[in-house]
Point group: C2
Chain length 508, copies 2
Amino acid sequence: MVRGVSVVLAVAVLCGRAWAGGLVGDVANYRSVHEREIVDRLATLTAMRSVAADPRGLGDAAAYLQHELAARGFKTQVWMAKSGSPGLVFGSLRVKGAARTAVFYAHYDGQPVTPSQWVSGPFAPVLRSGTLDSKPTDIDWKTAPLPFDPQWRLFGRAAADDKSSIVAFLSAFDAMQASGHSPSVNIKVVWEGEEEAGSPHIAEILHDHVKDLAADVWFIGDGPVHQSRQQTLYFGARGSVGVEATVYGPVRALHDGHYGNWVPNPAAMAAGLIASLRDDDGHILIPGFGDDVRPLNDAEKKAVAALPPVEDALKQQFGIGRSEGSEGLTASTLRPAMNIRGIRSGQVGAEAANAIPVDATISIDFRLVPNQTPAHVRERVEAFLTAKGWTIVHSDPDAATRTAHARIVKLDWEGAGYPGLRSDMASPAAQATIRAASDAAGKPVAILPTMGGSVPIYLFDQAFHVPIIGLPITNHDNNQHAANENLRLQNLWDGIATYAALMTELRW
Amino acid sequence: MVRGVSVVLAVAVLCGRAWAGGLVGDVANYRSVHEREIVDRLATLTAMRSVAADPRGLGDAAAYLQHELAARGFKTQVWMAKSGSPGLVFGSLRVKGAARTAVFYAHYDGQPVTPSQWVSGPFAPVLRSGTLDSKPTDIDWKTAPLPFDPQWRLFGRAAADDKSSIVAFLSAFDAMQASGHSPSVNIKVVWEGEEEAGSPHIAEILHDHVKDLAADVWFIGDGPVHQSRQQTLYFGARGSVGVEATVYGPVRALHDGHYGNWVPNPAAMAAGLIASLRDDDGHILIPGFGDDVRPLNDAEKKAVAALPPVEDALKQQFGIGRSEGSEGLTASTLRPAMNIRGIRSGQVGAEAANAIPVDATISIDFRLVPNQTPAHVRERVEAFLTAKGWTIVHSDPDAATRTAHARIVKLDWEGAGYPGLRSDMASPAAQATIRAASDAAGKPVAILPTMGGSVPIYLFDQAFHVPIIGLPITNHDNNQHAANENLRLQNLWDGIATYAALMTELRW
């Protein structure tokens, strides 16, 4: 016990915050003596190959999660779409006397992997003393003495996105129970198995289980915390719609000496197209594109202004000498964005031939903010390109089409896309959440009116019309969606504290 | 004999020109009964793997060519650079009473091949009844009855570029001798073995043999004839200088939802860079870029105006609905050009990730016209980019450099490049050449002040200060430098007639 207390004090100092006592202290105390077990649970879950492309890995993970919930007294089910889908793990715990119900959402699938890009196997989790850049040493968490250094990171696919949220939930629940605290709300759990594949069945499954999912607030355990590493809540996310644009040169590559300056160069045309769509600061130049943008209200502006500055540090981390726009990171990501994901035309480097390429392909994704809709974005883009002299086609043009039009662009829209969402930060549920999370953190949490990234949380909003609040826990530098994804332990510790607070202290 | 005459008449009709008698008739007559042998010679030479990457193939071809020249009474040598190089085959024939000397240049090496892209082996020549698009049948030239259809094409690497010129020379020489005509000039032959590798040793070899190469005119047997299929002479070529430009985003790919609109997108920056350099009609927007451009003189303008229109037909062939500029193909290619050979940034298609790419690479080649120099072009490009706010580096920027500058572009200039050349069309040698070639064709030949493509003929000009005249024979649609290169027989027949005329009728 003496050892336990000293550990708690050490952790409190490491975390840089005052000793809070009560729930916060109890949870920190529990966690500090169970760090090995918690990391082991995250490693076990990370080792499961739950990517949408591998049904077996998904099934194993769903069964494991269902078991974990049942062991904690939850009623559980695994839901699938009628046409078949990865299982959505549902859990429900009624709490005597609780008037409110909170749903905790996360996804247990991860992005696909390219193992050759990983320093260690994506499904063979490794604990390291820091980021890869810091030349870390490997740590054996089975034998390392407690407390663990909170800067250590667990590497593995989905260790951060979102399995850390699931482990934070389970560990917070355990801490709450072990220290004799009771939930203040009925708790429901929705753990999805195909978010990284675009959530193709979530709408159907939500629709099929509207009654089971009745609740007063949804917490979305996805996305990274603010770059300042403060615990974060977000009240929406940008929407998204993607398009691939192809412009055409000659039907076969032509010697650019004999034909350069006469046969149109599709790479140059693509460059002109991009430059006409967006300026150097990312502002979209399409007339009417922003017509539907809902301005920030005063509370939202105040929340953004209160965020700690992170820009200079990020410029160093990212090796960039400027930013697009001058309004700061979060304010920039509250605007609609047009991102060029890639361009391909002809060849570069040793393979470059003195030829006019046959075409140029641009992969674009738009990030939308409320109240923009993908349909309106598509309409505006197409009207703009038409006005600029482009002939728009939606399949490969035949010979007659090619010669009949001066400038042809094929637009492949990637599905319907989805809109952004910005929930009301002033709702009683939102205010109660901010209070509980801030109490757990011992200081005000970072509040983002929307997260820059996109998650289809508009679906929850449309289905249930209750506040949808983002509850991220992973570090921003987690290599999300890339190789060597990792979860920083301090983020998991902070997440456990926040989850525990939202289970036990949420009242309105 | 009766059969021979009827064949000659048939060919004259096929060629669409009047029966000329004398040399022209004698050469056509000789060729018509030797078509099988001529095609066989081109096939034999094409079957030799003379690409710069395969010294054995080059050596075999050089030995074969030396033997062919020696068999025709030429003194021959094979020259190499001191450091080693493919052999340059030199031949010399002194002609009694000839006051002038003409050098016939061609290269016997071909571009590298990607066999998988070929319909038949690049070094296993196949005669076909037409272009691949026309769904041709294969022809066995060993057994097909004479005369051959002049629309037939021999497919193989270098069959057109430039082995057709070499075979035209040899066949013209044979026709001249067989029909009792004598050369009007001393004849020298220069057949290079590494033109397609950029002629890295030609300057040294020319310098080492200045006396052997003394002459009054050089004929460059390279490049395609005008798209109208008229026999063509060109009086220069565009120069060339290449550069690869790389612009930088973040040091690692970043989630474009969380960072899009704040972290600079290098693909968008690259697009802006290209759009700032060149307009939609290929005009280069760099101030001072064209300062050194020497305007066309009246004779040059007249030659361009006299060219048959080919633009509408080419637009159909190439599947393009417009041209860059409205002044016509040849006039367009008399301007400097900036060609985008390729762009690479991020990923497109199924591999596209919602990420801000780390960089964007643009491969560019500039085509220069007299009197532009590569050094001036490089200076203007760099001054312009600097004025536009770019920081230019010539090697990968380190972390401190990246964060210190808003916009960094790395420029990798590909060697020194070389200038263009436009010889004097009014010189006595040029006028005599135009007369002889037009007599052989039975009508005025197409005259290009410069060819759009680049060949380093400025080297010959610098070394010898005599007229340098391009004498192309291959069809423009020969798939030059690409898979399925081919030579149309009528072009070889026309080439034989022209070569014979320049050996026997050249007088000034």
